[in-house]
Amino acid sequence: MRLIAEKLTCVRGGRTLFRNLQFEVAAGRVLAITGPNGAGKSSLLRLIAGLLRPASGRIALEGGEPGQPVGPFAHFIGHLDATKGALRASENLEFMQVLLGGGGQTTGEALAALGLDGLADVPVRMFSAGQRRRLALARLLVAPRPLWLLDEPTTALDAEGQETFAALAAKHLAGGGLIVAATHAPLKIPSVQEIRLGTGGAA
């Protein structure tokens, strides 16, 4: 499975963030999107996920049916964690598991993998920012999908959390998955490709 972007142009608020962007990501590879604030990293991720419409160009997944949207094959974890404070961690994760079609680890296993196993019955409003981020990442394990679209995945994570994430990512890539991540800081994965935005347009 490959992710292919052809001639992507993004216009937000009258401003062209990038024009005629072109790239391919093969299975087992990582694409890192870097650049200063406001350069369009989050917009590019949302574009790939189908949460934003490009001004021109298209995104396609080779290996799937032609013209099929990327959405059902991708996990999108943006800046926001998509967790509900009123619900317990286990309830949050179970919801994600059922909503996204399940088929991966159990919620117990996923929480343990992210170091949250003691907190399964705690309401999320009591979590710290780092714990919420880990809960958000746990959804990657309960419902496996080939493409991971991650916006600053390691924000608010401590060193141990970052190592955990790096291990999960490595395992995903080894299994033939793809990762596209927007990031300020360098990820602790040997990243193969980089796109730098905010330098005036095309990569």
Binding site: G50, L51, G78, D81, A82, V98
Partner: protein, 223 residues
Amino acid sequence: MIAPLRAVFLRDLRIAFRVGGGAGIGVVFFLALVTVIPFAVGPDLPLLARIGPAVLWIGALLASLLGLDRIFSADHEDGSLDVMLLAPAPLELIAAAKGAAHWVATGLPLVIAAPLLGLLLGLEPALLGAITLTLLLGTPALTFLGLVGAALAVALPRGGLLVAVLILPLTIPVLIFGVAATVGAAGGPVPFDMPLRLVGALSLVTFVIGPVAAAAAIRNIRD
């Protein structure tokens, strides 16, 4: 396909019961409204009995509007709406599941409270059954129309009043037939079953149109 929708339904229901006063708050508001009106009108029992069905319906309408504006905004603000857009289940069905949860959490308690409040307004016991039935059949229409308003205003801060402004004209037919059915149950020239059936029909129609229009409006914010 059922499992994700049931998960959405249960999640919204759980949040409704745990947050912001829970299910009781709608009923308390309903009670407060029904209490305030006689102070404005005067303790004139025959008059109150005449306007009783209308007061109950207006109370149900306003109490339903409570929290309708947050039905999609809350998910939009914490990123859950993005995940729902990428889920295998169609957004229309997800919207319908959220609407159903809102009705169970807000509308249904009002229906249950209505007979008691009807007594406060001096309605005859025979009428209480009728008004409960009309509210049972009609409050879903209010919720599903509200879905449309909530979706249109999803990304707007303080959308509450705007949502009410958008929805209220659309709810007028439900109000007309709902009250008429109740009055008809008391006997008189107006039949009972015809308006009742129209109320039911309106609920069925909005059950389809509401989620479809709401999903279209939500997808609209993809710029």
